[in-house]
């Protein structure tokens, strides 16, 4: 690469004259890599799943954010987009799948039903009123019924920012 070209990630790396060596903090590079390659789990439950599929299709294209690879197995992904209504029977499966995902893992609650029961808050005997009631910690809420694909893309970009701004982990022996 030539010296004067702007290269992606130039906010976290420092170039040496000659252009062949770059220097960066490993934490920053790790966060950049983590945020730019969030692989989602195929966890579409109900109507919001169709909007998630539309986000993955060519008109809105979730792949340009790095998240285009939807995996079927929880062991291979790091983002769980809970799209749709969570019912009592499905709650156990959700917990199990969340525990099977390896760290670092993130959860997006997509749609009003996943956030707080949505349209089914009143008068429903079998809807879990929000994913957090199951004990799954949520990183990001995307509200809407269903949220537009642009909302989901905005949500994933916000999640990438959240990962980028996450505080560095302090190991016990570093503390005074």
């Amino acid at each position: 690469m030539a010296i004067n070209e702007t290269i992606p990630g130039s906010h976290i790396i420092e170039t040496f004259p000659g252009g062949e060596i770059v220097l960066a903090k490993s934490e920053e590079v790790m966060k950049w890599a983590k945020g730019s390659s969030l692989w989602p789990l195929t966890f579409g439950l109900s109507c919001c799943a169709i909007e998630m599929m539309a986000t993955g299709a060519s008109h809105f294209d979730i792949d340009r954010l790095g998240s285009g690879v939807f995996r079927g197995s929880p062991r291979q992904c790091d983002l769980m987009i809970i799209a749709g209504t969570v019912c009592v029977k499905m709650g156990d499966c959700l917990k199990k799948l969340y525990e099977q995902m390896p760290e670092p893992k993130y959860v997006i609650a997509m749609g009003n039903c996943a956030i707080g029961g949505g349209l089914f808050y009143y008068d429903s005997y079998s809807v879990v009123k929000g994913v957090e009631k199951l004990g799954v910690p949520v990183d990001l809420y995307v509200s809407g019924c269903p949220p537009r694909p642009e909302d989901l893309l905005h949500g994933i970009m916000k999640l990438q920012e959240k990962i980028k701004n996450a505080k560095q982990r302090v190991l016990p022996k570093d503390k005074e």
């Binding site: 029977k89 009143y122 008068d123 005997y125 079998s126 009123k129």
Partner: protein, 154 residues
Amino acid sequence: MQNSECFQKIKNKFPDISIEEQPNGLVIPKASLLEVAVFLKNEISFENCHCVTAVDRKDKMELVYLLYSTPNHFMLTLKTFVALDDLTVETVSGLWRSADWLERETFDLFGIKFLNHPDLRRIMNPDNWTDFPLRKDFKMEGFIPRPQSPGLKG
């Protein structure tokens, strides 16, 4: 075909069953449900059991069968009443395989037991539930009823 024509045919075949002809359908006693169903399927070609459901009438349960006959282009609403202290009725899943899952759903939501059903267990709710949600006197912890708007008196 009309309701009254169907009613006449059943009355002619089973003269000693007390059939009532109401504007919304025919009401037959619970004990003669199976023989009337066999007659309807074989003689009048009601080959399609479109829907099986129940309505909670507070002092009794009303079972509704919606049967369709393609040659006659006629949808028959067949009703029967079940007393609350004896919630059992014969199954018709031997005649129409579509009634299999529909009767399981009615059992799950109302608690009506269908005798001689091949596999009567819950279909929608978890297996360890003991409640029947669609009854009018259903109460459950965590069930939040919608607050009544002051202008609407139900």
